[in-house]
């Protein structure tokens, strides 16, 4: 015999009460600031005073006419695409290596995961030291190997600094992407791979015609998170170059910080940050489509 149902048995009441604090937090402290970020971009708000008025499209007009902004926008795209291309190639290769069994694999895996664990600001300061203009160990090694005759001012030349930023971003995302691709590899049904072997497919054929197509959804997830982490990251560029030399290596987040927080022009800072939205919308839509496909596939 079941007990009589009371208030303590009403699932919708309990469910609502348990969900309410999380919803409140997300709505008040993510939803509202998100809307505020967009509203601020149309205002002339400054950090000094609490009042702000409507500025229409003036902030957008100002930044679109600003070569530093256009450069930052381009840098954001270059860094994001460059690092993700590098990550996809390296992660697919690394996953093939780490799928095999070999001696010392646990240690190798531990080391491979290190970049993901370290705080991004501390990793960036370590790389700043590695790329130092006088003491760079990279330059020493290249010179000692006879590969470098001049000198590389890693963080002192715009193009080279962007390369350095791409390297650091790829380094930071690689462990995450590798682990995700590995998870995807292990979920490929063994029969499919065996069937390919029986049919006489070699390693490369198997890789490109059997495994990679099956891995596509997983690689997509890795890339999507990679795009979010790279495009919206402030720490690496802020610490590595500070946007310099001469504002040539800014990305959207560092420029938004410089204008909005250091320069106290909240309106313009918000307008610059809003240009991150296209990156995020593409990612969100792609993830929703993937999730739907997974849902359909599960039925």
């Amino acid at each position: 015999m079941m007990r009589r149902r009371t208030l303590a048995d009403r699932e919708e009441v309990l469910g609502g009460a348990m969900l309410a604090p999380a919803l409140a937090y997300v709505i008040l402290l993510v939803g509202v600031p998100f809307v505020l970020a967009i509203v601020l971009s149309f205002s002339n708000a400054t950090a000094g005073s609490l009042r702000f008025g409507w500025a229409g499209l003036r902030n957008y007009a100002a930044i679109l006419a600003d070569p530093i902004f256009l450069r930052a926008l381009r840098n954001s795209a270059v860094v994001t695409v460059g690092s993700q291309v590098l990550v996809v190639i390296l992660a697919t290769a690394a996953a093939q290596v780490f799928r095999a069994t070999f001696r010392g694999k646990r240690l190798a895996r531990f080391v491979l995961l290190l970049p993901w664990a370290v705080p991004v600001s501390l990793a960036a300061i370590a790389w700043t030291w590695i790329f130092d203009s006088t003491f760079s160990v990279i330059n020493w090694t290249l010179k000692a190997a006879g590969l470098l005759h001049g000198w590389l001012y890693w963080l002192g030349e715009p193009a080279l600094a962007l390369v350095a930023i791409i390297i650091v971003q790829a380094w930071r995302i690689l462990p995450f992407a590798t682990v995700i691709v590995l998870a995807g590899l292990s979920s490929i049904p063994q029969e499919i791979v065996e069937a390919a072997i029986v049919d006489g497919a070699g390693f490369w054929r198997r890789l490109f015609q059997v495994e990679l197509p099956l891995l596509l959804p997983v690689v997509t997830v890795a890339v999507l998170f990679g795009v979010v982490y790279t495009a919206t990251d402030l720490g690496v560029v802020y610490i590595l170059t500070g946007g310099g030399p001469a504002n040539t290596t800014h990305v959207l987040p560092t420029l938004a910080f410089q204008r909005g927080i250091l320069g106290a022009d909240l309106g313009q800072g918000a307008a610059i940050a809003v240009f991150l939205l296209p990156f995020l919308i593409v990612v969100a839509v792609a993830m929703l489509r993937l999730a739907r496909r997974a849902e359909v596939g599960a039925r």
């Binding site: 309990l14 348990m18 080391v111 995807g184 800072g269 993830m287």
Partner: protein
Amino acid sequence: MIRRDVRRALKRTGLYAAAFGFMLFAGFPFYWMLITAFKQNRDLYVGASDLSHVPWIFNDPPTLEHVRLLFGQTDFPRWVLNTLVVVVAVVAITVAVAVPAGYSLARLAGRWGERMGMGIFFTYLIPPTLLFVPFSRLISLLGLQNSLGSLILIYPTMTIPFCTWLVMGFLRSVPWEIEEQAMIDGYSRLAVILKVAPRLIVPGILTVVVFTFTLVMQEFVYALTFISSVERMTVSLGVPIALVRGDVYHWGALMAAALFTSIPLAIVYNLFIDRFIQGFTVGAVKG
């Protein structure tokens, strides 16, 4: 058959070489932290154009000088303490808010639970760099600027969405029968939640705690935006920003700080990596 053996040996060598290459790429900055943190200054500051001085090894005996500087003459211990305060507070808030929410979505919400969970998870994708401008205003309106309170209030906006999702996913893998049996035995739904569910959910809570800990240790953007005085900084902010005195970089102490902060995080990550991954792959991988 010999040719086959040779091919096998070549393949093994290639495998080890590739594994070593990836280890080198991933681990090199950490080796560099280690060697820099314990090198004497005269061994450290030799220009890279001097090819006779090999920077990869200790040319002079190692020293604890930088470590002593870091712990004795900088604010590093203070930053560690600040970070721990924020970690404890944010963990408490996150567990109190996200665990019930995850349970609700997994067990009580029925069909719309999945959609709702997805919606909450998506807010995790909204980055700090989009929100720091409005937050800087909000924080000054609340009078929290330059205080640890600002971080304690704002960090849960990043941990709650992901942890709600983690707990929901975790509960999906816990069989419903135990709770069902308790209800048949005469427990009310509420009593099941209060008395039976907590025991089932412990590993999930542990993951939430670890995720929150690592996220708070790593966060940089909000700390940079809200905190201006050196004695209120967290480790991830203070080390790169305030350990640089004027134009003088104390590279030894800097790398020692980076190293000591990375070690506990690396160990924790290694233990919990698989649980995090389950959270991230969002159904794209079917295990």
